[in-house]
C-alpha cells in the first residue's frame, strides 16, 4: 500500500519539489547579498548598544530594496503553503475517489480502508509538514540578518519581532502544525462533502477563518499576560499624539518595553496617578512642546524636542504608561502550545476520517 500511495502521490511530490527548488533558488540568490549588506553596514562587528544605529540604518534601507519584496513574497508563500496543501492534497484525497468511482477499485483490493487511509494520510501529512517547514527554515536562514537587526533594537517595515504576526506564523515550528491541520481539514471536508470543489471551498474558508482568529483572540491568551507600569519618559521611540479639539486629549502607545526587548505588547496606554486609564491632557501640558499654529489647534508638536517636552510634562503630572505584554522569553512556549493545538486538531480530524470512512461508498 505504501508503494501505491507513493505512486498516486507522484504529481504532488513533483509539485512540492519544484516549489521547494524555486524557493531555494530565490533565497539563495538574494541571501548572501543581504548578509553582505548587513556586514557592510557594520553590524557584524558592533557590540551592544553601538549596534542600534547601524541596525536602524540597515532596516530602513530594506524598505527601498528588493529584499523587502523577497521577504514579503517568501513569507506569503509560507503562509499560503498549508492552505494550498489542504485544498489540493487534502480535499481530493477521499472526495476525488468517490467522485470518479475509483473508491470501488481502491477499496476492493486486499487492503482495508483503514490501512488505505492510514498510508495516504501519513504520506500526504508528513510531506505537507516537511515541505512547509522546509520553506520556513529556508526563509529563516535567509532572514537571519533582519532578525539580528531586530534583536539589536531596530524595528521598521518588514523587520519585526519574532512575536509579530507574520514572523510567528512563518518561523519556528508553527508551520508544521498549520500544514498538518490544513491537510487533515481538507481530507475531512472531502469525506463529509464527497465532492472535491465544494470541499476545497470549505477547507479554504475554515482555514482562513482560523488563521485570522488565532492571532487575534487565541494566541494572546495562551499564557496569562504580564502587566507593568513604567514612566512615560522611558518609552523611547514612541511618540505621543494629541487628539481632540484644542489638544485636550492625547494618546501614547508603547512600542518597546525597557529591559524587555522583543516582548509582545498586547495593549498599552497612559494611566493617571490613581492608576486609571486616562487620555485627558493635564491643562498645564496642553501647549507644552507645541508651536505657533500647532499644539492647541491640533497641528502637532514642534520638531526636535517638542514631543519629549510634552512627555516630560505628562510625567511630571504623574502620568505613566500601563502595558500588557507577553515577555520574549515565552516565544518557544507559545510556539509549542500553538503547534500542539493545531496538531491535536489535525489528529482529531484524522480520527474522525477513519470513523467516517467505514460508512462511505
Amino acid at each position: 500500500m505504501i508503494r501505491f500511495g507513493m505512486l498516486q502521490f507522484r504529481i504532488q511530490a513533483i509539485t512540492a519539489a519544484v516549489t521547494l527548488a524555486a524557493f531555494a533558488v530565490l533565497l539563495a540568490a538574494t541571501g548572501p547579498h543581504l548578509a553582505s549588506t548587513y556586514a557592510a553596514d557594520g553590524l557584524d562587528i558592533c557590540h551592544g548598544s553601538s549596534c542600534l544605529s547601524p541596525a536602524t540604518y540597515f532596516t530602513a534601507s530594506l524598505a527601498r530594496s528588493p529584499y523587502d519584496v523577497v521577504f514579503l513574497l517568501s513569507t506569503g508563500i509560507i503562509l499560503l503553503a498549508p492552505a494550498v496543501i489542504g485544498l489540493f492534497w487534502g480535499a481530493p484525497l477521499i472526495a476525488r475517489e468517490l467522485e470518479t468511482g475509483t473508491a470501488a477499485l481502491a477499496w476492493n483490493q486486499s487492503v482495508t480502508r483503514t490501512r488505505w487511509l492510514a498510508v495516504k494520510l501519513a504520506i500526504g501529512g508528513l510531506t505537507a509538514m516537511a515541505v512547509t517547514e522546509a520553506l520556513s527554515l529556508m526563509q529563516t536562514w535567509w532572514a537571519v540578518p533582519i532578525s539580528q537587526a531586530v534583536a539589536d533594537g531596530s524595528g521598521a517595515g518588514v523587520a519585526q519581532s519574532r512575536f509579530s504576526q507574520l514572523n510567528f506564523a512563518t518561523h519556528g515550528i508553527t508551520p508544521l502544525g498549520y500544514a498538518a491541520f490544513a491537510f487533515a481539514l481538507g481530507v475531512t471536508a472531502g469525506a463529509l462533502i464527497r465532492r472535491t470543489v465544494p470541499a476545497m471551498a470549505v477547507t479554504l474558508a475554515i482555514f482562513a477563518a482560523l488563521q485570522v482568529a488565532m492571532p487575534l483572540w487565541v494566541r494572546p491568551n495562551l499564557a496569562p499576560p504580564d502587566h507593568t507600569v513604567i514612566p512615560v519618559t522611558a518609552l523611547g521611540g514612541a511618540g505621543p499624539s494629541q487628539t481632540g479639539p484644542g489638544g485636550d486629549t492625547f494618546s501614547l502607545y508603547a512600542l518597546t518595553i525597557p529591559g524587555q526587548p522583543g516582548a509582545w505588547i498586547l495593549s498599552s496606554g497612559p494611566v493617571n496617578t490613581a492608576g486609571q486609564a486616562t487620555s485627558t491632557t493635564p491643562v498645564a501640558c496642553a501647549s507644552v512642546g507645541t508651536g505657533p499654529g500647532g499644539g492647541p489647534q491640533g497641528n502637532g508638536f514642534l520638531p526636535g524636542q517638542g514631543p519629549a517636552a510634552f512627555v516630560g510634562c505628562l510625567a511630571s503630572h504623574g502620568i505613566r504608561e500601563a502595558i500588557t505584554y507577553q515577555p520574549a522569553s515565552r516565544y518557544w512556549r507559545f510556539q509549542l502550545t500553538e503547534t500542539a493545538i493545531y496538531l491535536a486538531l489535525a489528529l482529531a480530524l484524522a480520527g474522525y476520517c477513519f470513523r467516517r470512512l467505514r460508512r462511505l461508498s
Binding site: M1, T102, A104, N108, Q109, S110, V111
Partner: protein
C-alpha cells in the same frame, strides 16, 4: 449448500428512502449467478453491501462466511467490478497492474499480463484514454488477477456496445472455466445472462421472486395454451406464474415438477427471458405503480 452470499433481513436506508429492504437470500457457490431485476430492485445496493462498499442499515450479510470487507484476508477472497468500471484516468495500464500486484498478496501477474496482451492494450496507455470496453476489461483484469474465490460484477456490460459486451462476457467465461470461481453478475439484460449464467436470481423490490439453476428452472416451467378456463382448475403441483386470457383462449406460464398431462393444453417450453419476465410481471402485480420493461440485448 455453502452460500457465497447470504443475506437475512438485509436493509439499506438512505436519507429519504430504502434502497433495499428486508432482503433474504442465499446464493450457492460454484455457479455463475445472474442477479436480475428491474431498475430500482436493489441489485446494485445488494452487491455494494456484499463488497462492504455499503454498511447495512438492518439485517446481516455474509460473503464467503464472513462479514464483507472484514479484513485483508476477506477482501482478498472477493473481486469486484463496479457499475461504472472506474479506473484511475491518469495512471497507465501498467500502473494498474502494479497497483494490483502491490495490493494483493495472491496476485497472478501472468494472468494479468496474458489478459492485457489478449486485449491488445498498450501498457503505456493512460487508462483515461481507454474506450469504455477496454476500461471494463482492465477493471475485470484487476478483479480476476487477485485470484478471488468470488467475483462480483455489477452491471459490468451495461454501458458497452454489443461487440464489447460479447468480448467482455467471453473473457469472463474463459477465466471462470480455468479457475474455480463463483461469479455473481447483475444485469437487467436477460440475453446477456442467458449466455453466461447457470443460476439465476430474480430480485424485485428487494425480494427474491425466484432463484435456481437455469436448467432446472427451464425444465420446470411451461407455457400452456388452450381453451379459456379458470386457472383454479389446474391439478395440485402446478403453480401459475402468469396468466392471460382472451375471449376463447387462456395462456398460462406454470411451474410444475411433474409432466403436464391434460390433453387440452398445448405445452411449450419457455425461454429464460420469458421466465424472468413472467416473474417480474407477477411481482409487478403486487406493486402495480411501476411497470418495468426489460431491455433486450441486440
Amino acid at each position: 449448500m455453502n452460500a457465497v452470499i447470504a443475506a437475512s433481513g438485509l436493509g439499506k436506508q438512505y436519507r429519504h428512502a430504502w434502497a433495499l429492504r428486508d432482503c433474504t437470500l442465499a446464493i450457492p457457490e460454484g455457479h455463475v449467478v445472474g442477479l436480475v431485476g428491474p431498475n430500482g430492485a436493489g441489485k446494485t445496493t445488494l452487491l455494494r453491501l456484499a463488497t462492504g462498499m455499503l454498511m447495512p442499515t438492518r439485517g446481516t450479510i455474509t460473503v464467503l462466511g464472513e462479514r464483507p470487507a472484514a479484513g485483508p484476508a476477506q477482501l482478498a477472497r472477493v473481486g469486484f467490478v463496479a457499475q461504472d468500471t472506474a479506473v484511475y484516468a491518469r495512471m497507465t495500464v501498467a500502473d494498474h497492474l502494479r497497483l494490483g500486484a502491490w495490493l494483493n498478496p495472491g496476485w497472478d501477474d501472468d494472468l494479468a499480463r496474458q489478459r492485457i496482451g489478449q486485449l491488445a492494450l498498450d501498457p503505456k496507455q493512460r487508462a483515461g484514454s481507454l474506450s469504455g470496453g477496454q476500461r471494463a476489461q482492465l477493471a475485470l483484469t484487476l478483479a480476476m488477477a487477485k485470484r478471488p474465490e468470488l467475483l462480483i460484477l455489477d452491471e459490468p456490460v451495461a454501458s458497452l456496445d454489443p461487440l464489447a459486451r460479447r468480448e467482455f462476457l467471453q473473457g469472463l467465461m474463459e477465466t471462470v472455466a480455468e479457475q474455480r470461481l463463483s461469479v455473481v453478475l447483475s444485469s437487467h439484460l436477460v440475453a446477456d445472462l442467458e449466455r453466461v449464467c447457470d443460476y439465476v436470481v430474480v430480485l424485485v423490490a428487494s425480494r427474491v421472486r425466484v432463484a435456481g439453476e437455469v436448467s432446472d428452472l427451464l425444465a420446470s416451467h411451461h407455457r400452456l395454451s388452450g381453451p379459456r378456463r379458470a386457472p383454479g382448475s389446474l391439478p395440485a403441483g402446478q403453480e401459475v406464474i402468469t396468466e392471460s386470457h382472451t375471449d376463447k383462449q387462456t395462456s398460462l406460464l406454470v411451474r410444475t415438477d411433474g409432466p403436464v398431462l391434460d390433453p387440452a393444453w398445448a405445452v411449450k417450453p419457455v425461454s429464460l427471458e420469458d421466465l424472468v419476465l413472467a416473474y417480474m410481471r407477477r411481482a409487478g402485480d403486487d406493486a402495480p405503480a411501476r411497470r418495468q420493461h426489460l431491455g433486450v440485448a441486440s
